[in-house]
């Protein structure tokens, strides 16, 4: 698979800080993959995200987006068009008083023809299921709806990559579900590359890849199943083990033979039920 974003030994320190917020991050993000990034508050995951579209640029090392260096002022708009960003607070990223005008904001900035903007806006709103709300005022929407409008506003730029920085941190469970479902459909159906930053473990279980960050470094990088099976690592990083992984681990400890690491509730229940039933038929 071809990498769309490459971090090459990236160091970054905020101007007012002494401590590095990113200390030598090197990794690449594959095209079309769903990459989840976990870490406690202050682990550097937001700083990491802000490097992906040149909002922050490395003090040392470099970030390449589809071959473009983000420190290159000349290409900054090209970089930002390719990497859409959705932030934590839905209220602070909607600029217009009417949903559809907000979604049009990015293509307008890019100088797209009015007729095409209209098409992009309608398509983007349909994609996130907010087309029926296109004439509404953002402040009257629920948190989950606002966040979906923000996602539509980013899709309307037609980016290849979408980076979401804790998009569900301020939402209720209902809103969280709406946003997570929308983001997964973008990756699975539209083939977009997604970088999804969160501290909710259960939102990461279906990701292709999971990166755990701490103190500005990548502490773990692999398949969610492998990382969630590592209780020791999770405890050290102040993260919770998903109930499914924890249950499988404890059942194994009491002698049950369970193969694989199914993380979703249904898959996990299926595995346990099968093993219990086969044990019964054997005895």
């Amino acid at each position: 698979m071809e990498p769309v974003i490459v971090f090459d030994n990236v160091h970054y320190t905020y101007p007012a800080d002494e401590k590095e917020s990113l200390c030598g991050v090197s990794l690449s993000i594959e095209k079309g993959s769903f990459v989840a990034v976990l870490g406690h508050n202050g682990s550097g995951k937001s700083t990491f995200a802000k490097h992906m579209n040149g909002i922050l640029v490395p003090d040392e090392g470099r970030v390449l987006v589809e071959g473009l260096d983000t420190s290159d002022e000349e290409h900054i708009i090209d970089v930002r068009r390719r990497v859409g960003m959705v932030f934590q607070n839905p209220d602070n990223q909607l600029v217009a008083n009417v949903v559809e005008d907000d979604v049009a904001f990015a293509p307008e900035n890019l100088g797209v023809e009015p007729k095409e903007i209209r098409e992009r806006v309608d398509a983007a709103l349909r994609q996130v299921g907010m087309y029926d709300y296109r004439m509404h005022a953002p402040h009257l929407l629920s948190g989950g709806q606002k966040q979906r409008v923000a996602i539509a506003g980013v899709i309307a730029m037609q980016p290849d990559i979408i980076v979401l920085d804790e998009p569900t941190a301020m939402l209720d469970p209902q809103g969280r579900r709406e946003v997570v479902d929308t983001v997964f459909s973008l990756c699975r159906e539209k083939g977009m590359t997604v970088v999804y930053i969160t501290h909710h473990m259960d939102e990461c279980i279906d990701a292709d890849r999971l990166i755990v960050m701490s103190n500005g470094c990548v502490m773990a990088d692999g398949k969610p199943a492998d990382i969630f099976a590592n209780a020791e690592l999770l405890r050290r990083e102040g993260l919770e083990q998903p109930e499914t992984a924890r249950l499988l681990q404890d059942l194994r400890a009491s002698g049950m033979r369970l193969e694989g690491e199914p993380l979703s509730v249904e898959d996990c229940a299926e595995l346990i039920a099968q093993v219990l039933q086969s044990e019964r038929s054997r005895s």
């Binding site: 217009a96 900035n109 023809e113």
Partner: protein, 265 residues
Amino acid sequence: MLKDITLGQYFPGNTVAHKLDPRTKIILVIVYIVALFQANGWIGYAVVTAVTAACMALSKIKPSNMFKGIRPMLVIIVLTAALNIFYTQGTPVRPGWIITWEGIARAVQMVLRIVLLISGTFLLTYTTSPIALTDGLELLMNPLKKLKVPVHEMTIMMSMALRFIPTLISETDKIMSAQKARGADFETGSLVQRAKALLPILVPLFVSAFKRADELAVAMESRCYHGGEGRTRMKQLRMQTRDYIALALGAVFLAVMFVLKRYAL
């Protein structure tokens, strides 16, 4: 309570009044204000009132919504009425009273003038989305760009302000409740004490407004905002036949008002 303010609120609709080009409506409101100030006789006021009522009917704005918009101005209206009633010389209503017939007439006219002024401008904001309004302003002021007036920056600031007014109002509500829960008292005490009592609201409000501004700037840059240069708009403004008709009617209205003034009607 704070939530009930409808000042500058837009009511979406599909009437002629909604469909008119915002530039037309802005010009018409200016025409309307000029015309209103020509009225100095009963016939003049009757004409303006009739025109206002007709526009309200056209835009299908409920009078109740109009009254809601006027309510915050009630103090000013009552004060104006009172001043005019008591301080106008003329024939007393009853011998010995300070209230004069002229005073009553003037008071009614002044109140009418204020109410009509508010109604006319509200018709604009009720029927025009803030984005269309700022777009219209930007285009109307375009010639000023040659004089290095930052027209785009001014209009984008205005639309941001409109976008965040409801958010900040609900935030103020929340902060007030939270401070009240810690025993803050906003209702009693001397003027100085009450002004001081506002600090626990204002400080968090400013802190959060700055945080919002910061985050918003990052979000806008992330969406490729780089000033007005090379920007296109999804909704192109195009003057239609109805705009020219509306402008022509506006001109007629203004002419009528000038004539009426001439004859002091």
